[in-house]
Amino acid sequence: MQLSVWTYEGPPHVGAMRIAASMTGVHYVLHAPQGDTYSDLLFTMIERNDRRPPVTYTTFQARDLGGDTAELFKRSAVSAFERFRPDVMLVGASCTAELIQDDPGGLASSLGLPIPVVPLELPSYQRKENWGAAETFYRLVRSLCQGTVPAVIAAKSAVSQQPDRRRSCNILGPASLGFRHRDDVLEITRLLGDLGVTINVIAPLGATPADICRLGEADFNVVLYPEIAGVAAKWLERTFHQPATKTVPIGVGATRDFIVEVAALAGIDPSAVLAKPSSRLPWYSRSVDSTYLTGKRVFIYGDATHAVAAARIARDELGFKVVGLGTYAREFAREIRDAAKLYGVEPLITEDYLEVERQIVELEPDLVLGTQMERHIAKRMGVACAVISAPVHVQDFPARYSPQMGFEGANVIFDTFVHPLMMGLEQHLLQMFKEDFEFHPGAAPSHLGPSHHASQAPAAQPKPEPDTEPAVAKASSAAAASAEPSLAASGILPAAQLTGAPIALVWSAAAEQELKKIPFFVRSKARRNAERFAGEHGLNLVTIETLYDAKAHYSR
């Protein structure tokens, strides 16, 4: 049993729905109780689809359990067939139906429907949404392509003799509820067109069952999202000898690597495409205003594909420092571990939101690149953040064109990663002026003349405070004692974590004054460092000296 506050992935049958909803001519009959129909709203509200996902739920109730839920499943399948007339039917069970063991696959095949029926076995108590999507796509591809194998292979070996023929590929993986898949497909289609590669089929997004039957005809596969298309691509490789791309073209470097990889698979020369002016990212990153980005500490978490790509961009293309890298996708733990080694960080493989939160709090990054959930964590901490990965939110379906992949994707990413930091800087300036003697909240507008100042403004220059007298005596522990909104008060740290024996630690009035001069977004860090430093050195008074000793000690 696992305690879960928020989840990054839905159950595997939601993954199956994403495949069905990506395509036309596919209908999914799901043995499930009524409450499971909630997942329709993911498609109609988050993705703003204008049709319901093609799913029929049997919605069995407690009173059916003693009776015949199997009969109910059969009735639902028949009426779904009659109403929707799909070309292919997927059948399966949700978590509850899995427990009552009605065998939807067997029941559906007993109906003798005049269309292919693909049974899905998605173990709900072991697996999750992405796995369910990958498995569904694989099952669908396998059952629709199996019959085409001999004919397709024969036809292909006939044409392979022709010299100078244009090579073709499939684009695999884009799906409903994917993070920017809609726009990535356009961007990659354009790029492949520039390279002179023909696109055979894009699947599952926008494909029909007939398209799936033609997958074998391509020379190779472009796998954009291994989370969804990895398993199917491996089967296609084994069956039709179609090699698959390994590079996911997110970021300038990865896009260039991708072009080289595709060119090799297609037997063409990439130099013309590589020589063309591409993304603005490299120049923007060299532009002097970006100096400010140097060494910004960034924490990255998401699905493996987007997280690994973000780390490479962060370090190599924006000059950030990667301080944390993680994923919720256990199936891709190896990819994250390998990448983490590159950046010299501990990989974080967890689906526990609280664990992710703990790490972020601990690492004190300048920028969090994560999912919508990390966005909320960062927001509460007042740290800059950007969303790089599913699970998706309505905001991840912007009206404008905003791919992640290809050169345009790199432009989008530059803006996405850099703007929040700029906003942070702006806020800092505002804050600085707010604390300025002329602009503090009590100051009257200057055009009202000096008499107003005289009556309202407090002494602009506080007289220097002695550095040896305690300002405020307070019990302090490393994280809690703070004039800034404390992490505990904002709900970020569990109260239990804060109840360690308090160290009697006192700040001198002058040190307090000095602290106020430090930009607010590093102020709480400075306070913590000073206190930690004092604690480690057995000091119980923080002076200006301590503050700067700590600064030197922890400088990075």
Binding site: G10, P11, I100, Y125, G491
Partner: protein, 455 residues
Amino acid sequence: MSPYNQDEMLADNDTSGGNTSGIQSSFGAVESSRPAAPRGALDLPVLRERGQREVFCGLTSIVWLHRKIQDAFFLVVGSRTCAHLIQSAAGVMIFAEPRFATAIIEEKDLAGLADLDVELDRVVGQLLERRPDIRLLFLVGSCPSEVVKLDLTRAAARLSDTCKPGVRVLNYSGSGIETTFTQGEDACLVSLVPGMPATAESDPPSLIVVGALPDIVEDQFKRLFEDLGIGPVRFFPGRRASQMPPVGARTYVLLAQPYLGDTLRALEARKAVHLRAPFPFGAAGTTAWLAAAARVFGVDAARFSQVTDRGAERARRAIAPHRETLQGKSIFFFPDSQIEIPLARFVYEELEMQLTEIGSPYLNRQVLEDELRRLPPDVVLSEGQDVERQLDRCKALRPDLTVCGLGLANPLEAKGLLTKWSIELLFSPVHGYDQAGDVAELFARPIRRRDALKV
């Protein structure tokens, strides 16, 4: 051509009707402004269909319950689906660590490799350590926990004994095989009834308003009851675990929501007396609801109208501009929360809309009698659902406004039908005089918006 086949309409005459109480006529403002046939829709046949239902399960009500009882925590014992459902329904509410979570059952629990009880105790221990502020813990059953027959009643009793002192552990089921959407609140409240203190013999008569209401609405009602001289008045559930009202023989119960039938029965079993009334939506509904209490507490008519006239008048004023938008417009309700019938009565009486089909996941006649009586005899009442056929009917009727769940709204909009998400009617304050205008606005907004858009 009517999309309704007469053969499918099952007559649903129950024999309990006929005892119209005299009270209503003693307070003038209570009468419907659109008098219907004397028994209204009471004797109408009900369309009952069996097909795919498109409603949430009872777990969903945790989304508002956890906001109401401020020191309670809701631990769903279920699957990843259950966790995903609540998260999806809660939508953007990921602002802080919420007071709900899911204990996700895993393969090793099912395979018998792990003892479910031991696992549950471990998870609860982990939770209580993290959240020492919790005073009341609900173990909420789900479809999976019920199908594997995990005994949460026993678990709750065990954990109540072993947990830290001061933490009460209760359980109820929000499973989709037994409950729809708002019935989760009903089940939750039922679990709280045995823990309510008993009133003493010597206590004066008291009133309990049953159903989670936003604090602001509670306070408004509190002031009205005070001005009427009715009291003591208490609200159930209370805002804290320790604030559940006492109940006994001279306790009167006013339901604030129609989906609380089981809670009502549990309170009746503790000798409380149900005050039958329409629900406090709109000016007339609120007045009639208050009147039901006024009668048993012996409030005289003059005082009653002195207290309620201002609120009712203010409500009517707030409603008026929206009535101009909505008057004569047709409206269709998909089943969702069980508040469809009272809302339909409100939009019919006070916004003068034209009712088509009113669907409800469950039609509780005991509680809805006074509502049904006020509906016109030509509406279609449906209970349960076959969503595909209901969509066919809706598309054939092309109502001016369709009230439906989030899964159906955009697809209907894409077909040119205006919709109002029903979930908003549960998440926003809608009861009482001072919210009447807001409810009317919720219905009017889609139409105003359509008129405003030039794209």
